[in-house]
Symmetry: C2
Subunit: 221 residues, 2 copies
Amino acid sequence: MSTGKHKLAQPDPGDVPKAVINRLSLYLRELQHLLRSGKTTISSSQLGRMLGFTDAQVRKDLTCFGHFGHPGIGYRCEELVAAIRRILGTDRVWTVALFGVGNLGRALLGYKGFSAKGFQIVAAFDEDPRKAGATIDGIRVHPMDRLDEVIANQRIQLAMITVPAAAAQHVADTAIKAGVVGVVNFAPVTLTVPQEISLVGVDLATELEQISFSVANREKS
Amino acid sequence: MSTGKHKLAQPDPGDVPKAVINRLSLYLRELQHLLRSGKTTISSSQLGRMLGFTDAQVRKDLTCFGHFGHPGIGYRCEELVAAIRRILGTDRVWTVALFGVGNLGRALLGYKGFSAKGFQIVAAFDEDPRKAGATIDGIRVHPMDRLDEVIANQRIQLAMITVPAAAAQHVADTAIKAGVVGVVNFAPVTLTVPQEISLVGVDLATELEQISFSVANREKS
């Protein structure tokens, strides 16, 4: 397959704005839709139009990582899907442990979108002894004191944290000590992690602030 | 209170990058923590340090909206909290309806972070007749065919969509026709809305792609 030979530029991950990565995710989603509907090539302006971006934006985002366009053809969907998955690191399977089996934790355990992108939740943890031992959506819930053992045995790479804010830093510290290299934090608190650990904070209310900002400022103008 | 008199600059909401709004949300969260712990003033470099940003970044973000610093004092926490809440439009209560009471919908109905920021989920909808009529976390679940009536009666402004991808566009169209002015879409599909409607797409797997990108590119370098 030609897609495997495509050489990617490798910018320092710290130099790539979060917004670019977000847009790559969107491009990937649209390209996968296109492939499923039988389309094999697309231009930057068509791809941009589908998502409300300019063609220049699309080209600029992709140019950070290599040259993907073909003169007179545009992008080959399959090739670009493979390249974006390699850029995003979703061309492999990531093992994930979820910490905190409350409402949100349960929702995430059942969220289909993760495994489709290569994120496999293989274990869950909860400090409530009544939850530990249960199996939810096929995933075993362990007590917190088995953390070291489970993370080592199942070679867990990423931690997804949905415990209450007050417990989140301690859980992150413990998971990192046990070997995870990336933390996705859903608790509404800012965590501190060592420099070599990747951290993404997800605050669901922040997404609503985007909406209120947008609606409120439309009203004013 | 002096905070009420503070005049805000009003840039076009379309001109303000999403990343700036995200950072304002983070500043707000930290400032509220500080206020609760009794701190009344803070410098841009202290605020930046707490979040891993430079002081120049903090000042630049805030300068878009007005002049908030006081020479020799820094920012007054209470004043800046009030200003950011006005900028973000969270100095008021927003009424929200949730569409789709699956796992994620249930988690969002119980998510404490929304009402703390002024987002009040006042109604839920589900097309499953077995769910309609139930009350979850104090919120009534209605059948979809009561949508027009409930949105009008409860003056619902925002729609939060957690239905399956295939149903999301139809639900958004219906809610907008009934009067909502903002849509927060959790379904993994890109929606199209009229220009005067605000739309934010939340793809939970996208957050994981940030992490895999970061970890994968650290490994390469």
